[in-house]
């Protein structure tokens, strides 16, 4: 296990000067993930907070080769980059021993929603890339709209809480399972609070031949309406309430749950930590809190049973 000291010694490929909000999890996640491979990287970055806040022309925070095209095609763009890499190697135009790793990065909007087709295509084609989703559960860059990653009950500008509606009515899309169903070699979910886990998973993702998917909870104090200095703690609360389980799935079926809270906390603690859920604490909204708890319990039990199943197999 790498120590914080050792990790800090490695070169930072994402440097300061960007315009990310105070308490945003993206720089933390990136500084961990980008340190896990020695290979040169090419990044294809979907439109979103990271792309927008890190490349204000003529400045850039990236000390690696980076491209942004649009929101829904970061994976498809990377398919092309990789194809040139393969083709030039085949033709002897690139040295055979030259190794480059390919990292696609998108927020949940670019991953769960508009980019899904493009990512699914690249995964089906078995391309050798790592996809990193920084999932802050809504469209933050455009001002906080609902995405299919938004959890049930959360108020966003397009699923607000009002006199009739209590925020988003549907549970979030289980994207990790969707990508695992592509039977790609590696899918993992992590969060910045458990940085050793994230480090290890990113390292494993880069070592994997074929598609690897990392779904990382990205605390967004600006849009979650939470204190900026609590963002990492909040992601821990997400794990302790089992709202954001920490797990990995190899070859589509082999599930390992990497963190099991000693005492599973009630979701109300998670809901209370962010003002986007405040309306849920009203008596008339008890029903949805109950439903959220049921959904979380169901997903957690499914995860644990999946892990047990591959043990017994």
């Amino acid at each position: 296990m790498i120590s914080l000291k050792e990790m800090a010694k490695k070169e930072d490929l994402f440097v300061s000067g960007h315009e990310m909000c105070p308490g945003c999890g993206i720089p933390v996640i990136l500084k961990i993930v980008l340190r896990t491979t020695k290979c040169p990287l090419v990044v294809s970055n979907a439109s979103g907070c990271l792309q927008s806040a890190s490349t204000n022309f003529p400045a850039t925070s990236w000390k690696l080769n980076w491209i942004h095209t649009a929101v829904e095609n970061a994976a498809g763009t990377m398919s092309g980059i990789q194809a040139t890499y393969s083709s030039l190697k085949k033709q002897g135009k690139l040295p055979v021993d030259k190794k480059i790793k390919f990292l696609v990065i998108g927020g949940d909007g670019a991953t769960y929603d508009s980019g899904l087709r493009s990512i699914s295509g690249a995964m089906e084609r078995g391309e050798d890339f790592v996809y990193l989703c920084y999932d802050n559960q809504l469209y933050a860059c455009s001002g906080g709209q609902r995405s299919s990653a938004t959890p049930m009950g959360a108020a966003t500008t397009t699923s607000p809480s009002g006199n009739v509606l209590p925020g988003k009515l549907q549970p979030r899309k289980n994207i990790s399972n969707i990508f695992a169903a592509h039977e790609i070699p590696y899918v993992a979910q992590s969060a910045p609070w458990i940085w050793q886990d994230l480090y290890k998973k990113a390292e494993r993702a880069f070592e994997t031949t074929g598609p690897a998917y990392l779904n990382v909870l990205n605390p967004c104090p600006s849009m979650w309406k939470a204190p900026a200095n609590k963002s990492i703690e909040i992601t821990k609360l997400a794990a302790d309430t089992c709202v954001w389980p920490i797990f990995e799935i190899k070859d589509g079926t082999k599930v390992t749950v990497n963190y099991k809270p000693k005492k599973k906390l009630p979701v109300t603690l998670w809901l209370e930590s962010q003002a986007r859920f405040t309306h849920l604490l009203k008596v008339e909204n008890n029903w949805i809190v109950k439903k959220i708890q049921e959904e979380v319990d169901k997903d957690w039990e499914f995860l644990i049973s999946s892990e047990n199943k591959n043990r017994t197999n």
Partner: protein
């Protein structure tokens, strides 16, 4: 030795691609050009080309893949038609703004609804402001010749603008004709090696491509980008001439056909010019002073050259395969009329729309247009003349 083979437009395009040897070809099927991509995939499967073939899951991804592949320093080819070109729309602007010399074959087809996909320029015309060079081809030979020239133009350091080589879907793409296929070595020598200006695979020189650029620089960025397409005017001419010197078939912005001393002219693009030329021959044989101008390059629009070619005429009929709702005539009509605004003696210019969704245009239709054009000269023609529809069914027909 060049060989003459009977090929349809799709096969001719594939032959050009085989000889130009792109590093990457992205594929998303559309019926009108799927055969072209099938041929190219077969070449790769047989080891005749080293191109990586990516079977994409959408037209949008097909162009996104081209952008990535080109930004990584590869020579790139793709194809689009009708709906798949429309699906690429936002990525087309990105490709040209990143100055990537992508070449795409466009098998022109109508846009839904109703579903159709047959010869129609609505797909290309919807992309006329995305800063791509647009070349229109009449027949399989031109498709082959234009794809080869397109790489030399797009990859020129002064240009670096992507190119669409268009041909009419299910007409030029599917009709079999004699096509002269040049020797592969000759073509390779003509096109030259592609030396990318920059590459995402150059790890020693990291760069940020496609950054955010707000009102401080965006305007300058876009205006500077125009230099590429403006510079292409010279390069298109040079390459067309060089191609002719080497292979015997010369190309320019347009092809004048029996335009010398003509008083009347038809102006159009694409496959229907073949039929129109037949009519011109017939009318010329009868002593009528009628000629034709087949436009090859729509973007950049050759206003100055067209002005010179058409200025002395009495009347011009502009025929286009696209509907431009809410506008006084289609894009070709408006561009030509605008080009001729400043000449001392302006010809009368008549807008015609024909062939939408693959509707036939035959000799008798062209004959009727010439007749109408001549008749129009007896009265003063106001600007904003009404668009006439060729071979459109009457109500209850």
């Amino acid at each position: 030795m060049p060989s003459t083979i009977v090929l349809n437009g799709n096969a001719a395009a594939a032959e050009a691609v085989k000889q130009v040897k792109p590093d990457v070809v992205t594929v998303y099927p559309m019926a009108s050009g799927a055969e072209m991509m099938g041929h190219i995939a077969s070449f790769a499967a047989d080891g005749l080309i080293d191109s990586e073939i990516i079977n994409m899951e959408s037209g949008h991804s097909a162009m996104s893949g081209c952008i990535g592949a080109s930004a990584a320093g590869g020579r790139v080819f793709t194809f689009a038609a009708s709906q798949s070109l429309a699906a690429m729309h936002e990525t087309l602007f990105i490709a040209s703004s990143l100055r990537l010399p992508i070449v795409a074959a466009i098998v022109n087809g109508a846009l839904a609804a109703p579903a159709n996909m047959i010869a129609d320029h609505a797909d290309s015309m919807a992309e006329r402001d995305c800063c791509w060079i647009q070349i229109f081809s009449e027949n399989p030979q031109e498709i082959y010749d234009n794809i080869i020239q397109a790489y030399k133009i797009a990859e020129h350091m002064d240009v670096r603008i992507p190119i669409m080589v268009a041909a009419d879907g299910f007409i030029s793409s599917h009709s079999m004709e004699n096509v002269i296929i040049e020797e592969v070595g000759e073509v390779a020598e003509f096109v030259g090696k592609f030396t990318p200006f920059q590459s995402l695979l150059d790890s020693d020189n990291p760069k940020t491509i496609g950054s955010r650029d707000m009102s401080q620089y965006y305007f300058e960025y876009k205006v500077n980008q125009l230099q590429g397409i403006e510079n292409s005017r010279k390069v298109i001419k040079e390459v067309g001439k060089e191609f002719g010197n080497r292979f015997g078939r010369y190309y320019g912005f347009f092809e004048p056909y029996k335009l010398e001393n003509a008083e009347y002219a038809l102006v159009l693009m694409g496959s229907s010019t073949g039929t129109a030329k037949e009519l011109i021959d017939e009318l010329r044989a009868g002593g009528e002073k009628v000629g034709l101008l087949k436009l090859r390059i729509f973007r950049p629009f050759p206003s100055a050259e067209l002005r010179e070619a058409l200025a002395g005429l009495t009347a011009v009929a502009v025929l286009e395969r696209v509907l431009t709702p809410g506008s006084a005539g289609g894009p070709l009509f408006n561009e030509i009329r605008s080009a001729l605004y400043d000449v001392e003696k302006r010809p009368s210019i008549f807008p015609y729309v024909y062939g939408l969704g693959g509707r036939d245009i035959r000799m008798e239709h062209f004959r009727e247009i010439v007749k109408e054009m001549k008749a129009g000269q007896e009265e003063v023609v106001e600007t904003g003349v009404e668009v006439k529809y060729v071979n459109l069914r009457e109500a209850n027909d």
